[in-house]
Symmetry: C2
Subunit: 416 residues, 2 copies
Amino acid sequence: MINIAVLGHGVVGSGVVEVIETNQEYIAKNVGDNVYVKRILDLRDFDVPYADKFTKDYADILNDPEISIVVEVMGGINPAYDFSKAALRHQKSVVTSNKELVAAKGAKLLRLAKENNVNYYFEASVGGGIPIIRPLHSCLAANQIDEIAGILNGTSNFILTKMISEQMPFEDALKMAQALGYAEKNPTADVDGHDACRKICILASLAYGKHIYPDSVPTQGIGEITLEDVDYAESNDCVIKLIGRVKKVDEQGHVLCMVSPALLHKQSQLAGISDVFNGILVRGNATGDVVFYGRGAGKLPTASAVVADVIDVAKAKGTTAALTWEDDGVNYVVDYRNTRCDYYIRLSACDTDKQQAVKEIQKQFGEVRYLSRPKQPENELAFVVNDMLERDLLEKEQILSAENIYLVNKIRILNY
Amino acid sequence: MINIAVLGHGVVGSGVVEVIETNQEYIAKNVGDNVYVKRILDLRDFDVPYADKFTKDYADILNDPEISIVVEVMGGINPAYDFSKAALRHQKSVVTSNKELVAAKGAKLLRLAKENNVNYYFEASVGGGIPIIRPLHSCLAANQIDEIAGILNGTSNFILTKMISEQMPFEDALKMAQALGYAEKNPTADVDGHDACRKICILASLAYGKHIYPDSVPTQGIGEITLEDVDYAESNDCVIKLIGRVKKVDEQGHVLCMVSPALLHKQSQLAGISDVFNGILVRGNATGDVVFYGRGAGKLPTASAVVADVIDVAKAKGTTAALTWEDDGVNYVVDYRNTRCDYYIRLSACDTDKQQAVKEIQKQFGEVRYLSRPKQPENELAFVVNDMLERDLLEKEQILSAENIYLVNKIRILNY
């Protein structure tokens, strides 16, 4: 009998109990032993058939020698961090869906797990029910990973999908996402890209072996995308998606890592990923592009990823050393302003003559390819410019603004 | 030092040597030891820098106690089967890309590996460079697998893509595939669905634990698909794909398993998988639909999957017992004629009055939804019929044929 404890009886926590209950026989066959939820930690009271499992005192779990695996699905840094450390120090493996904690403290918790000859697993922290952590690590082991790019946040993808396919304005799409339970009352973490940022940090750390901290990663959300941008993208045969990405820059471990909206050509495998679905593209030097697709959130998909980790821990003997990364105090994220990218740019020339504006644009950018949209105002200009040094673009914005030509929006065009 | 031997220096075999060479450092870091190709078995002579590794005598490998892993990338049943058995009996793990052998003898080789406390791994046998065997087994461990469906053959997918996107006739598309090296001179295994059949058998065996033999699986290729069918599919907002699929029927292990062309709605995640790419959809009871996408063949993608297995074997201690299935002599594949499916049906009523034909169709099928295509001949009728018992459809074909209304083609409509 493998006894586990679940910390937090929210959406994911109750899902874990449900998945273990529903698939009991199947799991027992897989593990070669029964997996049993012995205790659940939550400060709230629940009217459920298994109410006798609940405790409000973590010591009941920590000091129970029968409990060998602790499932931390509380979310947030504290007290999850302290609870996880304590469990590892008591030689209990920890399985988590807590992307915030893994992104902030992953290296430390992985080291602590190793020191105590147990495991710290986090498959559910990225991509919900999509298997990505283990395939990235184990199945692509023979590849050098050149690049990873993903639609990592279901809420913002839902909003963008509504904007693209139904011409629904951002605010309405956000309200619908909230009404459907896809977005929180305070949608900042999803809409501003912070959630995607944590996830790309975890993937980057795992792929390149060095802890990439969220606050070192330039992060831009979807709040400034409008239906006008969606229309221009459409005229360029593209859709707009929120993309978290990391790209190997050199052999010393430096990476380009950022979160931003991007125009993707409709033929991209990521372009067709709609609604609340997530998709992650891994570009390996031998395997080429591999894409993983599925529900990136939700009670049962996330819970099933947690339970898959529980099963793996139950079967593992000692630490699985290689599923890890280091924190050597160095920031490996390069300054994106020194890199090059294709761009979609939209300008307003309301306060200047349009012909003059076109001349000025040519002066700054050379030949550009103009885009058009239905109901395009006379003095709105949108175009595509290739292979811009990001730093130059920021400078050109300033120069144009001095000529009364104002940047309304600019979005990277990515090639996945 | 982990010494390996490679059996067969064809496309995949030379790729394995190349991937191990190119990613040497990366692999050593991952395994915690160097991986070295010590011997290569091939009857041909090769002018390569590592010519000294070659042998024509398998005994040189079998009797070398330093070689702990044998990579079998010869293809075909014999002598690959005998060589694999001999390696396992000599306590050497075997890694293979040989789908024909795994589909035919998997259960026996897996049992032999277990008896000798070594491993038999076959990630590269399905989906080339796409990680699918291990994610299916390990990451989805917490799910009961309801269904698996895949575009499993890159050659036939390339041909269908050309037919769909460029209106290229089947014969021309096949010639192009041959010219590009995607199809063999004798394209039967690809075009007639046998290759896809072997792969779905491997996935089915792994997912449900019982050996599913290719000859028990009804298999239909793409040879009868015409541009007319492609047009009718388009008018129904669908594309035609060659789909291998397996579906759980009951708790006793029975499955519906078959390979056939299918109409997929354009919004399906499998519909967008084009050219030589493969995609596999796994439907779990907790995780919902998860899709894996990438290059299903090719030298480096396939070789990288083989090398990933080599790394895993090198890290494993003893047999990884659960990655296995049994052969208890029972045929678990149910008769598809007793199952129900939606259908696209195309009939020719050349030898009868069209109004009479429409009446006859109504008599047989009730209300159907007619489709149309450009340049549709007067006496061609195409329609969609829902939820047909397959056996009834076969019967109705006979009845209509007696009325001089002939079936030209019928293709299942699947819901993925």
